[in-house]
């Protein structure tokens, strides 16, 4: 229903644009009908591989607002959407659509790191408030940090950093790291290597698969030849399913324990089946996290959408909480940017993932949980790192 309204809206805008080209200016109709509603734009993937993530984030965000009576600081909210298709080549273009065409006050996006970079670029140019509900690219709260850019998820540096300590605690001193050859993979590797070295471990080999290739057989053979104490990895989605299955089928799982950033086993456990049993990961959330806040959230989410919440829904939810909290403090005045930014910087979010605060570079300072796959569930077996803060290299805020 809202989707249909939204479509009608953007169709009208499109026709207005075409009309304008034909010399009939429909300008007064199309733009500038600014009311005193808060204009929130979702720049998320609604098609393609990450479509589900986009939907989960939006659902979470809307749930957070619904719990506040559907308003932000007492003001009504108008939603706008653009499907970024997880296509970096269209990123600045799509960001322009939502920021320049729809003139939103705040943009919520996105999942894909490359696309997020494009969005940040436009947000920095226009000064529009941008909230990142997933993309982990370090630069967002590092080199490119900006007063108006906040992240409610994680930086790529975070999830793999605690792994090293965990592996040393389990007595694995020599490890192989394997990932896709792309920047998220490289950032995950770097932070893992830092943490592992600091704890006294040695990365004996770094293996890369061209992204998004999923033919791992040659590298699995290489791992068998190297005989490390353990393997750490960074994969997600389809690649994660395939890697975990191949790892088990190659007989490696019984001899060399597999560790990974939590995304290795998020949302793909059904597809991975038995082969994922026993895999150890670190992440800032787990579905089965045992706290009342999480239970209430999951029940409400199930009630509202008829499906189970996941880490992406939590991130969307927290984005909603953050914005609601900030607008509340700013008295519902979205134009009072300084007050809103100050409120966000000082925010304490009581999240299903546990309480977290905002770092100076605008990235969550949060706990990372140690999880083990048991009976098709990421079971929390401890806290791998309490209050982990991204080093925010290159950020001068």
């Amino acid at each position: 229903m809202t989707q249909a309204v939204q479509n009608a809206q953007s169709r009208r805008d499109f026709l207005a644009g075409v009309g304008a080209l034909a010399g009939i200016s429909l300008l007064p109709l199309a733009g500038c009908a600014r009311s005193d509603k808060v204009r929130v734009g979702f720049m998320l993937p609604y098609t393609g591989t990450y479509a589900q993530l986009g939907v989960a984030i939006e659902n979470g965000f809307r749930l957070a607002l619904a719990e506040q009576g559907g308003t932000l600081g007492g003001r009504e909210v108008e939603y706008f959407k653009v499907d970024d298709e997880s296509n970096p080549a269209k990123a600045t273009d799509n960001a322009n659509k939502i920021i320049t065409r729809d003139k939103v006050d705040v943009v919520v996006g996105t999942v894909h790191s490359g696309v997020a970079m494009g969005m940040i670029k436009v947000a920095r140019e226009t000064g529009t408030l941008a909230l990142i509900p997933n993309a982990g690219v370090n630069a967002a709260t590092g080199d490119l940090c900006a007063p108006n850019v906040f992240r409610t998820s994680f930086s790529n540096w975070q999830p793999t950093h605690p792994l090293g300590k965990v592996m040393i605690d389990n007595g694995h001193r020599k490890a192989v790291f394997i990932t896709w050859k792309y920047s998220a993979g490289e950032q995950a590797l770097q932070s893992f290597a830092e943490g592992y070295k600091a704890a006294g471990g040695t990365v004996i080999k770094e293996l890369f698969v061209p992204f998004p290739n999923v033919e791992f057989q040659a590298l699995l053979t290489e791992i068998a030849a190297l005989k490390p104490d353990a393997v750490a990895c960074f994969f997600a989605g389809g690649g994660a399913v395939k890697f975990v299955k191949d790892y088990a089928a190659a007989g490696l799982k019984n001899n060399i324990p597999l560790y990974g950033s939590g995304f290795l086993t998020e949302g793909v456990l059904d597809a991975q089946g038995d082969s994922a049993e026993g895999v150890i990961t670190t992440l800032h959330y787990a579905d089965s996290l045992d706290n009342p806040r999480n239970k209430a959230f999951r029940a409400a989410y199930r009630e509202a959408y008829g499906m189970e919440a996941d880490v992406y829904a939590v991130q969307g939810y927290d984005t909603g909480l953050l914005l609601a909290q900030a607008l509340e403090k700013a008295g519902g005045d979205i134009s009072n940017r300084d007050a809103i930014i100050a409120a966000m910087e000082g925010a304490v979010i009581d999240s299903p993932r546990g309480r977290w605060t905002m770092s100076k570079a605008h990235n969550p300072i949060q706990d990372f949980y140690l999880r083990r796959v048991e009976n098709g569930d990421n079971k929390v077996i401890g806290v791998a790192w309490k209050g982990l803060e991204d080093p925010a290299r290159g950020c001068n805020m």
């Binding site: 040659a218 068998a224 030849a225 191949d246 060399i256």
Partner: protein
């Protein structure tokens, strides 16, 4: 490299190459016999994998899914040929490129509508679920070995069909001279329809067979398409033998390219460049022998 590991890597390369052959052979047949460039070939690989997933879920049996999936894709192939492809035989390559590019978009959206955008996996059938231990740490999945055997059997069958049967003779005749063959009283329309359907079914079949080892995901068709073109061009357009040789070559180059670091004239070649290596190979072949390894000589 330890000789033991070397042999296993060799096996990996051959196994990957054989699977590539299976996908690419349909493309080279359609190319070579009908002169049609089918950009949508990868889509049928993707459709095959999704068919395997949904049919296995519905029929509860992988083998049944394989059989019914194959029949379905032959029917789909004949339908597509009748609807679209047959109008293009006398047209420029460009129209074929245009039409089949359109089909890529259509199939990818249809997949999204029918099956969604999720990643799925297909369980390896119980019969082939085990692994054979090779070293103390490494085992080889039985399914992959079986897959290789199937590929070899299919390749041999295809070769026999084309070289030694009456149907194969008609196909070869139709390929070298459409009009002449027609005047000999052979229903060339039907022949082409069969070739197209069979070529497409091969791609879908490859997708179905690969589903248990590769998992099922939306972008899998596009990924395989380009590499198939490389196989076809290196092997020689229309040559099944060539496709086999090229697929094995690519399988090996890709496998060893990922794990071996070496130096050429002081310049260190890193595994990072493995992605480029197949295209470098293709460029070299095109410049040295444009007709491909097993294509007939040009000019």
């Amino acid at each position: 490299m330890d000789p033991h590991i070397f042999l296993i890597q060799l096996l990996n390369g051959v196994q990957y190459g054989l699977l590539l052959f299976l996908v690419a052979s349909g493309l080279t047949l359609i190319f070579g016999i009908m002169g049609v460039i089918n950009l949508a070939h990868g889509s049928f690989y993707m459709l095959g994998a999704y068919l395997a997933w949904s049919l296995t879920a519905q029929l509860g049996n992988f083998w049944l899914a394989l059989l019914s999936g194959f029949v379905l894709s032959v029917v789909l192939g004949m339908l597509l040929e009748w609807l679209f492809i047959r109008h293009l035989y006398r047209r420029d390559h460009l129209q074929q490129v245009l039409l089949t590019y359109g089909l890529i978009l259509i199939f990818s959206e249809l997949r999204s509508i029918v099956w969604g955008d999720d990643v799925h996996s297909v369980a390896v059938p119980a019969l082939l679920a085990g692994s054979i231990p090779l070293t103390e740490t490494l085992a080889y999945p039985v399914y992959r070995i079986w897959l290789s055997i199937i590929c070899v059997v299919l390749a041999a069958g295809m070769y026999y069909l084309i070289q030694h049967t009456r149907l194969g003779m008609m196909i070869r005749a139709g390929a070298s001279n459409r009009e002449m063959t027609q005047s000999l009283g052979i229903d060339i329309g039907l022949l082409y329809r069969l070739v197209f359907a069979f070529g497409i079914a091969l791609a879908a079949f490859a997708g179905m067979l690969a589903a248990p080892v590769s998992s099922v995901y939306p972008g899998m068709g596009n990924q395989v398409l380009i590499i198939c073109f490389v196989v076809v061009v290196i092997g020689g357009i229309g040559s099944v033998k060539g496709a086999m040789a090229a697929a094995l070559l690519i399988g090996l180059v890709d496998t060893f390219g990922k794990v071996v670091e070496f130096e050429i004239g002081g310049f260190r070649v890193l595994p990072e460049l493995a992605g480029m290596s197949v295209f470098v190979m293709m460029a070299i072949v095109l410049l040295w022998r444009p007709e491909g390894l097993f294509g007939a000589r040009l000019r």
